[in-house]
Structure formats: C-alpha cells, structure tokens
C-alpha cells in the first residue's frame, strides 16, 4: 500500500504544483503518512485483505497499466466528456463530416490501442489549430494525440504514391520549395502565380487556384544578415538566438529585420544560428519523420546558442509553439527540454524582460494608423492573444482593434488544399467580416499564414507587431 502513496506524491510534483503541495501538508500536518501494510506485509492485488472490509486503508487500487513518457492513458482518462473541445473546434463548426477533437483525441486514442483498428481518415481534416488544447479544462493533451494519430495514419495507411500524399509532402516541406524558389525569386513569384500554371497545379496536385502564392524576397533574411556583417551589438549578458523560420527568411525578411533592429535597440546581441523548419506544417500533415530530421538540426544548433547564454526568440507564433510544446511532446532528442524552456515569442520576451510600457509611453506613430488585429490560434495557446492589443493600446497614433476570437481558417497548409479551400474560407468568414467592420485597413498578426489568409480575404496589407514596434521605438 505504501507504494501507491509514493506514486501519488510523484504525480503531485509533476503536476507543477509542488510548492503548493508542500505548503498544504505543512500547514495541515497531515501530509502523506506511512501506513503499516494491512495484510502482514504481503501485498495483495487489491491492496487489502478480507478481514479489513471497512478499513479505508484497505481500498487503495493498484496501477494496472504501465506508465512511461509516451503513455497518454492519463490524458485520455482525464477527459470527462464536457465537449468544450468540440465547441471550440473551428473545423467542426463548418464541416459536419468532421467528428471533432473529442473523437480524434481520447476516443480514437483508445480505439487505436487495438491492433486491428485503423485510424479514421477524418484525422486528416483536423487543421492542427490546437484550440482544443486551450479549451480543455482537464488538460487532456489533445493536439499531442492528434499529432500521433495523424503520424500513424500517414505512415501506415496513406498510399505513398497518391496525389494527396505527394501534395501534402510538398506543402509540409515548404522550406525546400522556398529555398529553391528564392534562388530565382522573381521568376518563381511570377511562375507560381501564372494562370495556366495554377490551373495545372489545381488539376494535378489539388492546390486551389484561388490562392496567391506568397512573393519570394529578392534578398532573404539570412542574405541580408550576412551582408550587414551579422550582429551590430555585442553583449555577453543579453543574448538572443533568433529562430526566423522559413517565412521570415524567404518571404517577409522585413519581419526578421525588424526583430534584429528592435532587439539591438534594447541592447541585445542577436545570434542567427543555422536552422531548419520548425516542423509545424509537417505535424499538420502527419510527416513526423521529416519533422524529426529538422528538429535534430534545430535542437543541436539552438542548444549550442543557449549554452552561450542565449534565449531563443521566434517571430512566428507557430514556430515558438512547436519548439516549446510539440517538440518535447513528440520527440526524444537530447536537449529538447532545454530548448523548450528557453524559447519565447519575440514580443512576449520583450514584455517580460524590458520595460516596454515605459519605452512606449512617450512614443508615437508618425502617420496615424488603425490596425485590425487577429490573434493566431497558436498565439492563444501560449497566452499571447492579447499582447499586441495591450502593448500598443496607449501609443499615440496607433489604434489597435481586436477582430475577435475566431480562427482565420488557413491553419498553415490546411487552406492550401483544394478539398479544404471552401471550408477554410467559411471558417475565416467571421474574421473577414470583423476586419471589414474594423476601422483600420491594415491588418496585424504574428502568424505568416494567418497573414496570408487575412490578405486573401480582405485585400489589406498585413503587418507583424515587430514592424510596428520598429516604427514606434527604433525610429
């Protein structure tokens, strides 16, 4: 029986409430107590013996199932079927064929434990927005369950020569395409959006012709970084390693440049270690092997930077989400927990470590501008959905309007699939309406694919909060 008492203690600690636990047991004086075995020192399966029928100590159960890092049983058992996750799911709201996160998570997890049970193909309709994680009052690891089920489905059940698989693999490995395209950026930007090419892409690959491919920068962020001679500020006490991700590098280097200028303004030494894709588009397409390959590169290089005193900063909220949460959930790589602990989103980090309010107090934006701000779902899960609104609320010349808590609907690669395009736009409908109703005609968000969808649905120019911070603080 005492064995289970020990187990209970461990669980209390790992719940992250260790300090409070100690307080309570100290105050009450009734912390876990050693109790004598009830049956002469021989443990029975039920933890008790017949003669102790009404003794509470005799009723303690035993753990029948083995634990372990990747055992999600505890998570599945924590679900009490309140369906908060289903209510928060933007896909279930427009697609009644989609059975919702409660099925995809704990219910499918139980089903797939049986060897002869296939993963339901509807797992591919989950957009990996992860809103269910935020909605669950019981902390069921829903997105982790979805990622694992999706990975297993793609690995074991998806036809590797199918158009869908090939298309998904290309979308998931956006970095590869982007790297090639940015060698001939102007040609690529033209060819990728050239009518006949797009018609052919829809017919052969299922990439909707309605969408405009993002333009490729003529100078990538890394090219710019090299050309400027790297860091302009040296400071062993304040170092950050910038995880720019694929999009800031190949498509919107102005976001990366804003990050560098803002951080250097605050006296940070910026490092730009070698890096791959954060893995977000790969998780969403069940390409876990690809994601792991990139993760190994990222963990190695970023952990090295951490060793030199840096914290890791991402400007994309999906990249920071991936490094913080999905990495340690899905991969067992040496140093991956350190990376998770040291990773922050760019604005978040400044709000924690600098007196940003004080810095912004006297500042103003030269040309008055209203922004329609959309909080990305992945920002929401990190507690960042209000940071842009609150940071700029009192800045002269800036009017920041939150366009509500709906999902943009693109969820990375989800909206880039022909069969999902209409649903993606239906999910985004509410955000488009709120953007149109908002005063400003410039959009703002931290997530590059949300930005794509915002621009696609409204025609607005979309900016990153770092760009506004650059304009107000650095300029």
């Amino acid at each position: 029986m005492t064995r289970h008492t020990a187990d209970d203690d461990e669980r209390g600690e790992s719940n992250g409430t260790g300090a409070a636990d100690r307080t309570t047991s100290d105050v009450d004086g009734n912390g876990p107590a050693e109790r004598p075995a009830t049956d002469g020192g021989v443990e029975s399966a039920t933890g008790g013996s017949d003669s102790m029928e009404l003794d509470p100590d005799a009723y303690d159960p035993v753990d029948v199932f083995p634990g372990g890092d990747l055992d999600l049983r505890e998570g599945a058992d924590s679900c009490y079927k309140c369906t908060s996750c289903d209510t928060s799911c933007p896909v279930a709201e427009v697609d009644d064929e989609f059975p919702g996160p409660k099925f995809q998570g704990p219910e499918q997890w139980r089903l797939k434990r049986k060897d002869d049970h296939d993963i339901d193909e509807s797992i591919m309709s989950c957009s990996n927005c992860m809103r269910c994680d935020d909605a669950c009052p019981s902390s069921v690891p829903l997105s982790q369950m979805h990622n694992e089920a999706r990975g297993q489905f793609v690995e074991e059940q998806m036809e590797k020569l199918s158009v869908e698989y090939v298309r998904n693999r290309i979308l998931a490995n956006y970095r590869t395409s982007a790297r090639l395209a940015s060698m001939f950026p102007k040609t690529a930007s033209f060819a990728m959006n050239f009518g006949p090419v797009r018609w052919a892409m829809e017919k052969t690959m299922g990439i909707p012709k309605e969408r405009d491919f993002p333009e490729f920068a003529t100078e990538t962020f890394r090219e710019w970084w090299k050309a400027r001679g790297g860091a302009q500020v040296q400071n062993p006490d304040k170092r950050v390693a910038y995880f720019h991700g694929c999009y800031s590098n190949y498509n919107t280097p102005e976001v990366g440049k804003a990050m560098v200028r803002v951080y250097e303004h605050f006296g940070y030494e910026v490092m730009v270690p070698p890096q791959g894709c954060s893995g977000t588009p790969m998780f969403a397409n069940g390409m876990l092997k690809d994601a792991r390959r990139h993760a190994e590169t990222n963990v190695e290089n970023l952990v090295e930077a951490i060793g030199e005193g840096a914290d890791v900063i991402a400007s994309c909220t999906s990249c920071s989400m991936s490094l913080r949460q999905e990495y340690p959930e899905l991969f067992d790589i040496h140093g991956i927990e350190d990376l998770s602990e040291h990773t922050f989103e760019a604005l978040e980090y400044l709000r924690i470590h600098e007196d940003l309010d004080g810095e912004l107090a006297g500042s103003s934006l030269a040309d008055e501008q209203s922004f329609a701000y959309h909080a990305p779902c992945h920002a929401r899960n990190q507690g960042l959905d209000r940071q842009a609104v609150e940071t700029f609320r009192d800045v002269d010349g800036v009017n920041m309007e939150d366009v509500g808590d709906s999902c943009s609907g693109i969820s990375g690669t989800y909206g880039w699939k022909e069969e999902k395009y209409e649903k993606s736009m239906a999910i985004g409908e509410e955000m488009f309406e709120h953007m149109e109703a908002a005063e400003g005609d410039v959009g703002m968000t931290e997530c590059p694919t949300c930005a794509m969808q915002m621009e696609h649905g409204t025609g607005y120019e979309i900016k990153h909060p770092l760009q506004l911070l650059e304009e107000t603080v650095v300029a």
């Binding site: 008492t5 209970d8 209390g12 992250g16 409430t17 260790g18 300090a19 409070a20 636990d21 100690r22 307080t23 309570t24 047991s25 100290d26 105050v27 009450d28 009734n30 912390g31 876990p32 509470p56 303690d60 309140c82 369906t83 908060s84 289903d86 209510t87 928060s88 279930a92 709201e93 009644d96 064929e97 059975p99 935020d134 909605a135 669950c136 009052p137 902390s139 913080r324 949460q325 340690p328 927990e337 602990e341 040291h342 990773t343 922050f344 709000r351 924690i352 470590h353 007196d355 929401r380 899960n381 990190q382 507690g383 960042l384 959905d385 209000r386 940071q387 609150e390 939150d402 409908e429």
Partner: protein
C-alpha cells in the same frame, strides 16, 4: 516554514516581474466580476487564467438562491464509515426549503459559514446590479428581487435570478400554450419527455413536444456549433435557407397542443434547444418567430452551451472595455511570499519557463473541484495555486454521506474567507494580508443544491475585487 520554502524558488530569478496593482487568477464569472470591481475602484488590473473560461459549460442562467437545503438528516446518521454504493441503511434527508420566491429573505436561514452570510446580502444585490449593467439587454430579470421559474432541458423548472432574453418567452409562470421542439439527432434532449415532465410538474400552461426533421440534414452527431453556424449564416439546407427550413419543419406541429377539454390550441410560443445562432441569435429568433407567428425561446442546455459561450463573449468584451488586461493559456503554479505575511508575486508557467507576476493584491478565483481550483486525491483536498488552507475532515470517509442528494460535506469544501474575502488558515487567522478569494474556490455553499453558483460568484467577486483594490491603494 512553508513561506520560507516558497521564497527560495529558484526559477523566479532571471526575469523582471510582470507587474500590476491587482492580479486576478481565474477566468470565470467570479474572476471577471472581481477584475471589473477592482478596476472601478481605480486599480490597474490584470487577469490570468489557465484555460478558456468554463463559462462555456454554464447554462447561462444567473442563479442567486433557489433552495435552502437541510443540513441535518431526518434521522441520525448510521454509526461507522459511510457505505458508498451499498444499499445498507441509507441516510435520509428532508426536502429542501423552496423553490424560493425571494432569495434575499432566505439568506439568514443559510449556515453561518455560507459565503452569503459572510459577505452579506448587499454584496449579492450589488453583484447582481453589476451583472445587469454588464449584460445589458441580453439578460432579463433585473426588474425584481424575486426569482423567475425557468424550464431547463431536463424538464425540471428552476428558480433563477437572471436569464437570457432568448429564454424569456419560456418562463414557467407564463400561461400561454407552448410547443417544445426536439430533434432525433440531438440525443441528450427528448422534446416529448420534456413536455411530459413539465406537465407532471404542474406548469400553468398546456404543452406538447414534437420531434421534427431538420438536424437530420446534418451528420448524425454534428456539433451544435455547426447547427448554430448554419442558422447564423442562413446556409442553404437542401436548397432552402436554414431558418426557413427550420420553420417549415416546425409549422405542422403548431396545433399539437390539446387542452383539458380536448380542444386544440394554436401555440403562442415555441421552445427550441439553445442552438438558435451564435453571433446572430437575435435575428435567428426574430425570423423564426415571424415565420411561425409565435414567440420563440431557447431552453438552456448542459454543455456544450451556446448561452454560456455568448455570455463569455459579452463579459470578456466588458473586461476589455474596462481596460483590464487579460491573458489565457498559462497556469499559476506557485507563489513568492514576503516575510511580512503578504504575497509579492505568483509564478506563471509559460510553456516550461516560470515567469513572476507581481502585484500589490491578488484575487484567487480559480473555481471549485470541477473548475480545478481545488484539487484532491486520497490523502486530502488542496488549493493548488496558492496553497491556501482548505477545511476538511481528516478521515476521507467523512467527506461524503450515503444519500447522493444529502448534505454532502465535500460540496462545501473550499477556502474560508473573512468578511473582506481574505482566506483564513487552520487557526482562523488571515493567511496572507493581500490575498482575496472569490467564486467556486470559496467553501461553505452547496451551490448545486442551493442553485446559488452565479450569485456566490457575483457577491464574493465584488467584495474580493473591491477589497483587493483597497489593499493595493494603501
């Protein structure tokens, strides 16, 4: 001892604290009430909550006090430990006092340790006033102290203080004949059984239930958010706009109600499960009413609850308008206390890194056992965020009684506050001078039996918020 341990938490170092005058921990009705109350006293307020608000699981009804349940059994409890699940000599409890028509006059009959007795009837009244202001025209019932009687989806009639405008035409005190509409695919709700139960309860109107074809156009287990969205956008269902399609499905049943003399009445009001739109609820109800020639009302449901979601949206908008900063997604996992018996900061786990949030005063409004503001295992019941004292019998077999509907001691577990809302330690002394508690984490009320959850949140939230602001101003 405990305080000394906590101040040495190493993870607090390294970053500047995120500072505010009043920090509210929690995201439900009590937390929002506290945050707005503190803000109106002039404090700079921040609210942090771990998960999306559990308001989305709430019915959307605002109860104050519907019943005063007995706290003594009808006959003495059997000797020895309770016998869960065994039919041995069960204890028996008298019926509760109620349904109450006036919640305020009954407060004196509650146990002395009840939060209403501690913070006073005026706190409840002011809390309801604040709610009326925040909810605006979306809610009804503020014109009187008296409870309204509202049918809920189990078929019972519940005394409640405030109710959504969408539910207004469903009042049980209304004597107009009513039709209750159900859908085969919504399995947790049977319209005919519902109507039967209302009749059995002796409601003063004729009522019939009908199951109609509409939700059948969707997948069998389509989420109610899907139905609401289809009605919001008036999507076409097999070529007919959703609102028209729903009205057409209901129309043949408008003469289903038969009165005592066998005469057939055309119904004057039609009740639906609460899925009539999310953003556009008012327009959806108006169009249905127009097409049906009858008032339309929603019957509050269990989770997932659209009335709860709508209330959540409205209250968070109010929070924003009040200038309160808020963030959701990361839990409070520990405290940093000073030698003078106050808390200086709490630490928030931001995906692996603990970040200190400092404040002059704190409001704890993290909910009860369901909301995870209280945690329990076989060894005890704890308040996990601040480590506050939770009064409880040492032997866990005294946490409950045999009768499921009896006076369950666990239902009243929680922190015990003083009249300013400050939690007390085991000796009855204030545990931290600058910590105030509100809502489900406060013990002493059996909110499920009393129908008092929202009222307790409003009353204690108001007091905790004001007192925290006062503390911060000193």
């Amino acid at each position: 001892m405990a305080a000394a341990q906590l101040t040495t938490r190493a993870s607090m170092g390294g970053s500047m604290a995120i500072d505010s005058e009043v920090l509210v921990v929690g995201g439900g009705l009590a937390a929002i009430t506290a945050a707005i109350s503190a803000s109106r006293e002039g404090a700079d307020v921040r609210l942090v909550s771990h998960k999306a608000s559990t308001l989305r699981q709430a019915s959307g009804l605002i109860d104050a006090l519907g019943y005063v349940p007995a706290t003594e059994p009808a006959k003495p409890l059997r000797e020895g430990p309770p016998t869960a699940g065994r039919e041995l000599d069960r204890d028996e409890w008298p019926d509760p006092d109620g349904p109450l028509s006036d919640p305020f006059e009954a407060i004196d009959r509650l146990p002395e340790t009840h939060p209403y007795r501690i913070v006073g009837a005026d706190a409840l009244r002011e809390g309801l006033d604040l709610f009326d202001e925040l909810a605006g025209d979306a809610y009804r019932g503020g014109h009187t102290d008296r409870n309204a009687l509202l049918p809920t989806f189990g078929g019972s009639v519940k005394p409640t203080a405030r109710y959504p405008a969408a539910a207004e035409a469903g009042l049980a005190s209304d004597d107009r004949p009513a039709l209750i509409v159900g859908f085969r695919s919504l399995t947790d709700y049977d319209a005919r059984a519902f109507a039967g139960r209302l009749e059995a309860a002796g409601v003063p109107f004729d009522v019939a239930g009908a199951e109609v074809e509409f939700a059948e156009a969707f997948r069998a287990d389509a989420k109610i958010t899907r139905l609401a969205k289809a009605l919001d956008h008036d999507e076409e269902i097999d070529g007919t706009p959703a609102r028209e399609a729903l009205a057409k499905a209901v129309a043949p049943h408008l003469h289903d109600v038969v009165d005592e003399e066998g005469g057939v009445d055309r119904v004057e009001r039609v009740g639906f499960p609460a899925f009539l739109g999310d953003q556009e609820g008012e327009a959806v109800r108006a169009e249905l009413a127009d097409r049906l020639g009858a008032d339309v009302f929603e019957i509050p449901m269990g989770p997932p609850s659209l009335p709860g979601l709508r209330l959540e949206d409205r209250l968070y908008d109010a929070l924003d308008a009040e200038g309160v900063r808020f963030e959701t997604g990361n839990p409070v996992v520990g405290i940093d206390s000073a030698a003078d018996g106050t808390i200086e900061a709490v630490s928030v786990d931001r995906k692996g890194r603990e970040v200190p949030y400092s404040a002059d005063a704190f409001v704890l409004a993290t909910g009860g056992l369901v909301g995870k503001g209280l945690d329990s295992d076989r060894e005890g019941v704890r308040e996990p965020a601040f480590g506050l004292h939770v009064e409880q019998p040492a032997d866990r077999y005294e946490w409950f009684v045999d009768d499921a509907f009896g006076d369950q001691p666990y239902a009243r577990f929680g922190v015990r506050p003083d009249e300013r809302g400050r939690p007390l330690d085991a000796d009855g002394a204030v545990q931290y001078e600058n910590v105030f508690a509100a809502g489900g984490v406060v013990g002493g009320a059996d909110v499920a039996r009393e129908k008092s959850a929202s009222g307790v949140s409003l009353a204690t939230g108001l007091v905790a918020g004001r007192q925290a602001a006062t503390e911060a101003n000193q």
